[in-house]
């Protein structure tokens, strides 16, 4: 069957209480894939921006845009082509691991150490999604206790 393409879509919506369920319900009900979904209000408006990473055939991707557009509280749907795309991740390491190594690793991926406690070290990184994947792989040798990914945000270039 048709090849699946990855796509990042930003949805500008009216800030009403059920808008997120309208959007996520649309994906669930029509069998569209959601890889990541982030949502936050836009400054100085009563609007929010939902960023969704999805995957599908050309026909499905076109349907996603059109169906989203049909939702009454949706102002605008942006299918990103030329964009800057970032994802954030937090990783917790045991205090026994080498702090300097972890610091250097995080640094290599645009991040650093954000917290050191009596038992743990927390590193933070914000980078392109594929780089985040590499970063998480690289952390494996430092016995990560917990990995929290933030989902993708994107902005058109």
């Amino acid at each position: 069957m048709a090849d699946k393409t990855r796509r990042v879509v930003s949805v500008l919506v009216e800030n009403e209480s059920s808008v997120l369920s309208r959007v996520s319900g649309l994906f669930a009900g029509r069998g569209y894939n959601i890889e990541t979904l982030t949502v936050a209000p836009l400054p100085n408006t009563n609007r929010s921006r939902i960023t969704i990473v999805t995957k599908g055939s050309q026909r499905v991707l076109e349907q996603i845009t059109k169906q989203l557009h049909k939702l009454v509280p949706v102002y605008k749907v942006v299918e990103h082509e030329e964009m800057v795309e970032k994802e954030m991740v937090l990783v917790k390491f045991p205090i026994e691991e080498n702090l300097a190594d972890i610091q250097a690793l995080c640094g290599a991926y645009n991040g650093g150490i954000v917290n050191v406690g009596t038992d743990i070290i927390i590193g933070m990184v914000a980078d392109e999604p594929f780089r985040i994947k590499h970063f998480i792989e690289a952390t494996q040798r430092y016995s990560p206790i917990e990995v929290v990914r933030g989902g993708v945000v994107a902005i058109e270039r």
């Binding site: 919506v13 009216e14 209480s17 059920s18 369920s21 309208r22 319900g25 009900g29 026909r59 076109e62 349907q63 059109k66 169906q67 557009h69 049909k70 009454v72 509280p73 949706v74 102002y75």
Partner: protein, 566 residues
């Protein structure tokens, strides 16, 4: 003016010009009913089940083109209404349903008769609202009506907590609606329309594929005009019956799973599909890769998401069919004539002569198709025909001579058994001067049979013609064809006494087994002007034909035996 929220609901409905509300009261909506009691701006019909209220509002909307209105209470009242919402949603029917909700303070506490109406109805409404503050109530109702009837129409739910209908505030009903995020495209792109005109001029075998959107857009006259000026043949979907008019020589018939031979062949051989307000439903297309295989496709639809959803479209035109057709016709004016496609019309005529829509009549038993054609002979354009779902529905669509849009009312998209009778009540309220006949089955009629009481109480004289085959016939037909005649749970030999049932509820009943009895009963029922059941014993094992097995190509039809002989 100061008033409570309940009164605001009534005032808003009156301001919207609502004449009839179908509904059923209960705790969470009682404040509104108390105000309904005090007003005389609209009539309220108490159906005997909320599902029926919503179908009745739906039937009213389909016949009049206005927004239908239903009202229900929270919890079970709302959940009973869901099938009605889904039915209207699938067929794009403009409707506003108002539901009571538990007080704001109880929401989220599993309060008595609390259910998440917004969550449940989200996928089966065009939009829905939970009213959180009294001050927004008038605006929300205004927007609900606007959303229901503009763009691609659909049902809208307004869920109102009980404390809001009790609260007192200032009522100002807005004149205008402004929803910045909701601006349906209605005009149709000029350049695309020009390209479509050129495509039609280049085509040798164009075909109008007419869908329910034409009815919703009130564009039937324009479709007829377009067909006529170019001598362009047309096929109708189940939802579009009546658009072209039964006697129209350009009309091939209905296409799809139970379409007639020449319609399905026309679609299989055309070189240009002109799709008007139709959505390439699987019951219409059959196997997609074989559908209109040799054709380019023009698709006019107000819903952009319908275009390119299932088939690739060469000339997409997003817009209201009416306005687009006006410009399409203007573009073709003087450039087409009826001779241009005469070869193509001859081909289709030959197909129609080869396998006409027909059936083998009998002298011993009433054939369901005969009964439908007979109603057509006796009432023709005068009647509004509603139907339920099953074989009787398909036979009605095939055999009744529909002559105008909004004459044929059925649940096409969802296929809801139990739709026909309450929809007939709504239809009759919307068009009291018409004779309203519900063509139904012995299975379907029982799914809203309580409406006998409603019809009697309010003197809504609709006639239910029960084509009684002692079967869930359509399912039985599939079992015959595809399950080696294992009739699992489809035998309805255990029957109520339909005549007595009607009479027990204040209606009038007839048992009919011969053609003469049929005529007599129908004429008597029309004359008596009361709600009626005409229980017609029909041939048990009759099949709906032609039939394209699900997923098969449209040109591979199982044909009627008699048709094969020819």
């Amino acid at each position: 003016m100061k008033m409570n929220g309940a009164r605001m609901v009534c005032e808003a409905l009156i301001a919207e010009g609502v004449k009839t509300v179908f509904g059923y009261p209960g705790g969470a909506i009682m404040n509104v009913y108390d105000e309904i009691y005090k007003q005389d701006g609209f009539e309220h019909i108490l159906n005997r089940h909320e599902q029926a209220s919503v179908h009745a509002a739906d039937g009213y909307a389909r016949v009049t083109g206005d927004v239908g209105v239903a009202m229900v209470t929270s919890g079970p009242g709302f959940t009973n209404a869901v099938t009605g919402l889904a039915t209207a949603y699938m067929d794009s029917i403009p409707m506003v349903v108002i539901s009571g909700q538990v007080p704001l303070s109880l929401i989220g506490t599993d309060g008595f008769q609390e259910i998440d109406a917004i969550g449940i109805s989200r996928p089966c409404t065009k939009h829905n609202f939970l009213v959180r503050e009294l001050s927004e109530l008038p605006r929300i109702i205004k927007e609900a009506f606007h959303i229901a009837k503009t763009g691609r129409p659909g049902p809208v739910l307004v869920d109102i907590p009980k404390d809001i209908t009790a609260e007192i505030g200032e009522f100002v009903y807005p004149d205008l609606v402004d929803i910045p995020s909701y601006k349906p495209t209605i005009k149709g792109n000029k350049r695309q329309i020009e390209k479509a005109v050129d495509a039609i001029l280049k085509s040798k075998k164009p075909l109008l594929y007419v869908g329910g959107g034409v009815v919703l857009s009130n564009a039937s006259d324009l479709v007829r005009k377009l067909a006529d000026m170019g001598g362009i043949p047309a096929v109708e979907t189940l939802m579009a019956r009546g658009v072209m008019g039964a006697g129209n020589p350009l009309l091939q018939g209905m296409l799809g799973m139970h379409g007639n031979y020449s319609s399905n062949m026309a679609m299989s051989e055309t070189d240009l599909v002109i799709a008007l307000g139709s959505r390439f439903d699987d019951r219409v297309t059959g196997k997609l890769s074989e559908f209109a295989k040799y054709a380019d496709i023009i698709h006019v639809d107000i819903d952009a998401a319908n275009i390119g959803k299932l088939v690739d479209v060469d000339y997409p035109i997003v817009g209201d069919v009416y306005g687009v057709l006006e410009r399409l016709i203007a573009g073709l004016e003087g450039r087409v004539n009826r001779d241009k496609y005469s070869d193509w019309r001859e081909v289709l005529e030959r197909y129609d002569n080869l396998h006409p829509q027909s059936f083998t009549d009998s002298e011993n038993v009433i054939k369901p198709q005969w009964a439908i054609e007979r109603i057509g002979e006796l009432l023709g354009e005068e009647a509004i025909i509603t139907s339920d779902v099953g074989q009787h529905q398909m036979w009605a669509a095939q055999h009744y001579p529909f002559d105008r849009p909004r004459q044929w009312i059925n649940s096409g998209g969802l296929g809801t058994m139990g739709f026909g009778f309450p929809a007939a009540l709504g239809a009759k309220k919307g068009a009291p001067e018409k004779t309203v006949i519900n063509i139904t089955g012995d299975g379907s009629i029982l799914m809203n049979v309580q409406e006998l009481v409603t019809a009697s109480e309010y003197k809504i004289p609709v006639i239910n013609v029960i084509l009684n085959n002692n079967f869930l016939g359509m399912v039985r037909q599939w079992q015959t064809f595809f399950y080696e005649a294992r009739y699992a749970e489809t035998d309805l030999s255990y029957q109520p006494n339909f005549k007595l049932l009607a009479e027990a509820c204040g209606g009038i009943g007839y048992d009919v087994a011969t053609k003469a009895e049929f005529d007599e009963a129908l004429k008597d029922a029309i004359a008596k002007d009361r709600v009626a059941f005409i229980n017609v014993a029909v041939n048990r094992f009759e099949n709906v034909l032609p039939m394209v097995p699900a997923g098969g190509a449209l040109y591979n039809m199982i044909l009627d035996d008699q048709q094969k002989e020819k």
